[in-house]
């Protein structure tokens, strides 16, 4: 009998205790709320203090980006990718370390390396990318990176990318027409000789 009343007492007190906690949250809703009103407010959140210094907050892993002017076609990123979502095709440059104006090829990277290869295809399938960041470390020229990564000053954080068609998520970074252009140049060279 005593457990009967004890149970009733415990039930009532614990339920009232729980209700007390929830009503406190209800009244403090304005200060406590953690919702990010997404399209208007974006990360990094502008007004609410979350305790981080946004200036040093620069390692968000967003989509991959390649600075083609710096790429030397060493294939290290392709080999590092665990899901094989990077595909690179290179061809020998007719003139090592020299700009090829016709196909907008730059001969020297910003680190000063002379390029021996022309990258005719540099495709990244972002729909397969697993955002592991493994491709960015081996790059000797630091030209492949996640936007919002170490080069975030050049490329803003951009984590909302959607496409109506899945094939649009295959990013083609190589300069358009570089393959044909290169062929033409080689032909012209052959003809000249």
């Amino acid at each position: 009998m005593s457990t009967y009343f004890k149970d009733i007492y415990e039930t009532v007190t614990s339920i009232l205790g729980g209700m007390g906690i929830t009503i406190m949250h209800l009244f403090k809703a304005r200060n406590d709320n953690v919702t990010l009103q997404y399209p208007e407010e974006k990360w990094p959140r502008p007004e609410r203090n979350i305790g981080f210094d946004h200036g040093s907050y620069n390692v968000i892993r967003s989509r991959l980006h390649v600075d083609m002017d710096d790429c030397i076609g060493c294939l290290k990123c392709e080999r590092a990718c665990p899901v094989d979502c990077i595909k690179i095709v290179t061809e020998k440059s007719p003139a090592r370390g020299e700009d090829l104006k016709d196909i907008k090829h730059k001969g020297i990277t910003s680190n000063g390396t002379k390029k021996a290869l022309v990258v005719t295809r540099f495709d990244i399938d972002m729909s397969e990318c697993c955002y592991c960041n493994l491709c960015t470390y081996p790059c000797p020229e630091e030209c492949i990176f996640m936007t919002g990564g170490p080069n975030s000053k050049k490329h803003p954080i951009d984590y909302e990318f959607s496409e109506p068609d899945r094939s649009d998520l295959i990013y083609r970074f190589a300069k358009p027409g570089s393959k044909e252009g290169l062929e033409k140049m080689n032909q012209a060279k052959d003809g000249g000789e």
Binding site: I15, I23, L26, A29, D32, V34, T35, Q37
Partner: protein, 357 residues
């Protein structure tokens, strides 16, 4: 009564133009439409309230936005309308193996149950559609139609989860009618009437004449009634028939679109009915808490609705606080706790009345 009143007005207006029978029908139809409109508007409001209360309790902001279109209006006020439109425009799916007529009939039946309860609820001294002399009895009676329709929905869906939900709700609602009824018996004992208006008039004269403050046994009866009402309307912690983590959605698993909306709406309508009965029985109905303070027919509607809204808020508040009971615990709470306490209460009230009055 409203119907008679309307009939008089209408016969004054259209005398000789339309037959008496048609006029009577018309004067019945108008209040029905009004009730339907009230339920719809109230449904939208309470859905919004539920969204907001739950969000605030959970440290969120709930539906928000700047304007119509992509956003749900200022403070998300358009959210319930968007919800309703979405439900209305959804494809109506009837499973091929379902019992088609029963499947279609069940959601309307549960709505009818909630709908016809409304006609006996008084919103003011003369604002009541049908002033039965057995008002409370009537509401308890038609409230049970919900059980039938839930079983119907569960059976007709031809789905094991729905069947579980239907069976659970049958056991639950039938059991909890008993403590709810026994608690209301105290009200009837004190007011010596089954008529809603008489019960309210018995409580006239300020907040301390309300039945809940009549004697120390009545608050207990009020709590028992309120909890039983939660169980009857399938609200947490008694939402076993549709417990989403166990039975997917219980009896409503196979329903979609408009039919699902009817289940949804009648749950909220039932919440209003049981709260209104609690207000009439224990909290003075449409009467102002202070004598002479905002005490007119229009303010009567205000008092009635605001008291009911307060009880509905407690229901929402409980829902977002408590976990759910198990089937056997639900039954043992009813039969082992509420029933004996209700009986003791009746004795207590009887003895108290004999001694002190």
């Amino acid at each position: 009564m409203t119907v008679d009143y309307l009939f008089e007005i209408l016969s004054g207006l259209f005398e000789g133009l339309i037959g008496t029978n048609s006029l009577l029908l018309l004067s019945m139809l108008i209040p029905c439409l009004a009730v339907f409109g009230f339920i719809t508007v109230y449904g939208l409001v309470v859905i919004y309230a539920e969204l907001k209360v739950s969000s605030f309790i959970q440290d969120k902001v709930g539906p928000m936005g700047q304007g119509p279109g992509l956003h749900a209006g200022k403070w998300g006020l358009l959210q319930p309308i968007a919800d309703a439109l979405k439900l209305l425009s959804k494809e109506d799916i009837i499973p091929s193996s379902a019992d088609r007529p029963l499947f279609i009939f069940a959601p309307f039946m549960i709505f009818i149950g909630a709908f016809i309860s409304f006609i006996a609820i008084p919103f003011g001294e003369s604002i009541i559609i049908a002033d039965f002399n057995i008002g409370i009895f009537y509401i308890l009676g038609v409230g049970s139609i919900a059980v039938l329709s839930l079983i119907l929905a569960g059976w007709a869906s031809n789905n094991k989860w729905s069947l579980y939900g239907g069976m659970r709700s049958a056991a639950q609602i039938v059991s909890y009618e008993i403590p709810a009824g026994l608690s209301l018996i105290i009200v009837i004992m004190l007011s010596e009437s089954l008529n809603m208006q008489d019960i309210i008039k018995y409580q006239s004269g300020g907040v301390f004449n309300w039945i809940i403050f009549d004697n120390p046994f009545v608050p207990v009866a009020f709590v028992i009634y309120f909890i039983s009402a939660l169980a009857e309307t399938n609200r947490t912690p008694f939402d076993l028939p549709e417990s989403e983590s166990e039975l997917v959605a219980g009896f409503a698993t196979e329903y979609s679109g408009m039919r699902y909306a009817f289940f949804f709406l009648s749950e909220y309508a039932n919440m209003f009915v049981v709260s209104a009965v609690a207000v009439v029985g224990f909290l003075g109905g449409w009467q102002s808490p202070l004598v002479g303070f905002l005490d007119s027919a229009a303010w009567g509607v205000f008092w009635m609705i605001s008291k009911t809204a307060a009880l509905i808020f407690v229901m929402l508040w409980l829902r977002w606080t408590l976990p759910r009971l198990r089937v056997d615990q639900l039954m043992s709470v009813c039969w082992k706790v509420f029933l004996p306490i209700s009986l003791v209460n009746i004795f207590g009230v009887a003895i108290w009345t004999v001694i002190f009055n």
